[in-house]
């Protein structure tokens, strides 16, 4: 066994770090947030595509790099560390994993275009009436002559404001299905808003949207395929949270070393040293929980689900503790938007709820491991 990053992984990581330093600095981020930007930045997206980040998980035969989930997690960890707030998780991981396992050939043909950034794809799963579940969707796809008629509403669709296409989950008469919907179709209405971390999302209403037969991406065993892709995204969020936590620890320890009170550095106070030590422990336990889930990500379904949920509980709890204490240890500065710590805090509390929160994962773990 080996826990070190491989040579290729280190190259990927260093590339992202360089990009962040040059083009995604905290200063530029603040400017963007201040400028009341009106949505996801497609120019930035083109740069991201050029760097190959969107191609990491796309199989080679579809124009991608064909790397593993472990490799992708190296990328997400570094994106977390660099506080890169772009909808990469949904487009480059969740959508790609769904399309790769799709029955429909036309769906798989989208992959090369996603890799290059030519097609921007978002994933619309969430509904106001359901908390992290895809059972009992109110969005319905009724079979009609020549295809389907889609009706319903999806919320919190990351990057949906600039998306060319949407992957939409809906109930058909028999079961759960996933559809590829052109974002500019008749009857599709999008309302955009900004998220806590500076990203943009939309709520989408589908009003009798007519879909052709070939828009059905996955129509059988959808739950299995979707659950698996969501678990993979949940794992990706873990990696991103760990990257955030690593950086929070660095900047917080640095703050304690530089800030002088009572004639000495805050870092001289043992109570604060021990607090940092506890956050270090939290972060390392989170990393180990992540390794545990990563090792089980291709296991049979029950093993995978229990492993991912166990990891997410541990990591989400660490994310809260590290985020909360990171802000607290910065004192008043922790409340100021001009310091990075508050931005990490915002990102961490979002990540801790992406693709399932602590309660959701504890419940799933308990169902699989305690009551079974």
């Amino acid at each position: 066994m080996n826990f070190e990053f491989s040579k290729d992984q280190l190259i990927l990581r260093d590339g992202i770090r360089r990009f962040v330093d040059e083009r995604y600095s905290f200063e530029s981020r603040r400017q963007r947030v201040k400028s009341k930007s009106t949505g996801t930045d497609r120019a930035m997206w083109a740069q991201i595509a050029e760097l190959g980040w969107l191609a990491v998980l796309i199989p080679e035969e579809h124009g991608g790099l064909g790397w593993s989930i472990a490799d992708a997690c190296v990328m997400f960890q570094e994106l977390g560390r660099g506080l890169v707030s772009e909808p990469i998780m949904d487009s480059a991981l969740l959508a790609v994993r769904i399309l790769t396992r799709a029955d429909s050939v036309s769906a798989r043909l989208l992959l090369p275009k996603i890799a290059t950034g030519e097609v921007f794809i978002s994933v619309a799963l969430g509904e106001a009436g359901l908390r992290y579940e895809q059972k009992g969707l109110s969005t319905r796809a009724i079979p009609i002559e020549g295809g389907y008629k889609l009706t319903g509403k999806k919320i919190l669709v990351a990057g949906g404001d600039v998306a060319d296409r949407l992957i939409v989950s809906a109930g058909t008469d028999s079961e759960l299905a996933l559809f590829d919907v052109l974002a500019i179709s008749d009857g599709v209405e999008r309302r955009a808003y900004r998220l806590l971390d500076g990203q943009w999302a939309v709520d989408v209403t589908f009003k009798d949207v007519v879909l052709p037969h070939e828009s059905l991406i996955i129509g059988s065993q959808t739950t299995e395929i979707l659950d698996r892709a969501i678990d993979e995204a949940a794992l990706g969020c873990s990696a991103e949270a760990i990257g955030c936590m690593d950086r929070v620890l660095e900047i917080t320890a640095e703050y304690l070393r530089s800030r002088q009170q009572f004639g000495r550095a805050l870092a001289d106070f043992q109570v604060l040293q021990h607090r940092i030590a506890d956050l270090f422990i939290e972060t390392e336990m989170a990393r180990s929980a992540f390794h545990s889930a990563l090792s089980a990500i291709d296991s049979p379904v029950a093993t995978r689900q229990a492993a991912v949920s166990a990891a997410r509980v541990r990591i989400d709890q660490a994310a809260h503790k590290v985020g909360n204490q990171g802000v607290h240890l910065h004192g008043g500065m922790g409340m100021a938007m001009e310091y990075p710590i508050g931005h990490y805090y915002r990102r961490l509390i979002m990540l801790a709820r992406a693709y399932g929160d602590t309660e959701h994962h504890l419940e799933r773990y308990e169902r699989l491991k305690i009551r079974a």
Binding site: A277, E284, S288
Partner: protein, 403 residues
């Protein structure tokens, strides 16, 4: 990065499992399963069995008579021992930890004199570190060794010395230079417990156990050849030794075993109900398993990257000790929760009747006394091996370059 457990290791695990299950005497496993600390005789029997198999020192290299296993194999060995209810060889810790100091820093004569007898179990060592006024502040220790011809004359007192009552030798930290900085005036001496002037006095602990002792030195004459390594370098050797101990102190394999026991206890009907049927308990159990799983992977990571973590190595090892000890206590606390009112009676060890007085309710489950005893002893976990606050200080200093 490769997180798959190699097939050879799975094979190794099965080999260890088959040996341990077949070789471990049933009565020893039974006593262990009930939660009682092993008797000295049981420990010597089990150690003898392992020694005959060549497995008495899983962490030592082959050239010094160890198994030559890598840290992951040692980890698996301990995991299988815990799962089979083999006694935890805590008494071996003295010997296991002293051995590496001897083969790394000792003379050839010392290696020849001491190592073979550690391997067979013929000689047991304890560690003479803490003193009445030097606990967490170990470097302030005062037990003195003054050179007199070919001998050192040792005076002073050690305390909390684990297993001194069954040990043959004590690996003692002694002050050999009063004028130097505290850390620079300490040396390591091997002292035979039978030497004139050595007195071992037991301390009875809150679990009614016999684990730790006071050791008094009154003009004890120790041959100069018993100085391990160089004069006044003892602090370096002690840190080397304690660094090794921190890896094993997580005891996550034992915690996994205790969680299985907790599940068993919670599944039994007691006071008219099963604890596992309570939602709040199930939630606590889930959280405990989740936290233990993270620790297990951290221990595996430490085993795989041993020595390669650089400056964060020390911090990481200290983190394992903190989390490991806290989880040992948490699982014990949950066991107590399940026992409920049964925590109150005072129990004695089986050979003493297991029960004070003459009345023993028929309803008391068989594993209550042992479980209680072990839970009480677990309070020591956050104190020994460097209290958890000492570990947090180490984490700050070594990972954040602080002062």
């Amino acid at each position: 990065m490769n997180l798959t457990i190699p097939i050879e290791l799975e094979r190794f695990r099965i080999e260890v499992r088959e040996f341990v299950r077949a070789a471990l005497p049933t009565d020893i496993a039974c006593r262990q399963r009930e939660g009682w600390p092993p008797t000295e005789t049981d420990l010597r029997r089990w150690f003898g069995i392992l020694a005959a198999q060549g497995w008495s020192q899983p962490d030592w290299p082959k050239e010094h008579g160890g198994t030559g296993w890598d840290p992951l194999q040692s980890y698996i060995f301990e995991d299988e021992c815990a799962a089979a209810d083999a006694p935890h060889l805590s008494w071996r810790a003295g010997s296991s930890l002293v051995g590496p100091v001897i083969y790394t820093f000792g003379s050839n004569a010392q290696k020849a004199r001491y190592l073979p007898k550690i391997l067979t179990g013929e000689e047991l060592w304890c560690q003479g570190f803490s003193e009445p006024n030097s606990g967490s502040d170990l470097a302030s220790l005062r037990t003195s060794a003054v050179r007199d011809g070919d001998e050192f004359v040792v005076n002073g007192q050690k305390i909390w010395t684990s297993e001194a009552h069954i040990a043959n030798l004590i690996f003692a930290l002694v002050r050999t230079d009063r004028d130097a900085k505290p850390q620079r005036g300490i040396s390591c001496l091997a002292i035979e417990i039978e030497s004139p002037g050595v007195t071992v006095r037991p301390i009875s602990t809150i679990d009614n156990g016999r684990h730790v002792n006071e050791v008094f030195f009154n003009d004890v004459r120790v041959p100069a050849g018993n100085l391990i390594g160089e004069l006044n370098k003892g602090w370096t050797y002690a840190k080397f030794l304690l660094g090794n101990e921190r890896h094993s102190n997580a005891l996550v394999q034992r915690t996994k075993r205790e969680i299985r026991k907790l599940r068993d206890l919670a599944g039994q009907t007691s006071f008219g109900e099963r604890f596992i049927d309570k939602p709040a308990f199930r939630r606590s159990l889930a959280q405990l398993e989740i936290d233990t799983n993270a620790l297990e992977w951290a221990v595996i990571r430490a085993a795989c990257t041993h020595g390669a973590l650089g400056g964060r190595d020390m911090a990481f090892a200290s983190g394992l000790k903190v989390v490991g000890s806290e989880l040992q206590q948490r699982v014990a606390d949950l066991q107590l929760e399940v026992l409920g009112p049964w925590v109150s009676p005072e129990f004695l060890e089986p050979e003493e009747g297991a029960w004070h007085g003459t009345f023993r309710p028929a309803e008391v489950p068989v594993d209550v006394p042992g479980t209680m005893t072990k839970a009480l002893f677990r309070r020591a976990a956050t104190i020994y091996g460097g209290a958890n606050e000492i570990q947090r200080g180490i984490i700050w200093r070594s990972a954040f370059g602080g002062n």
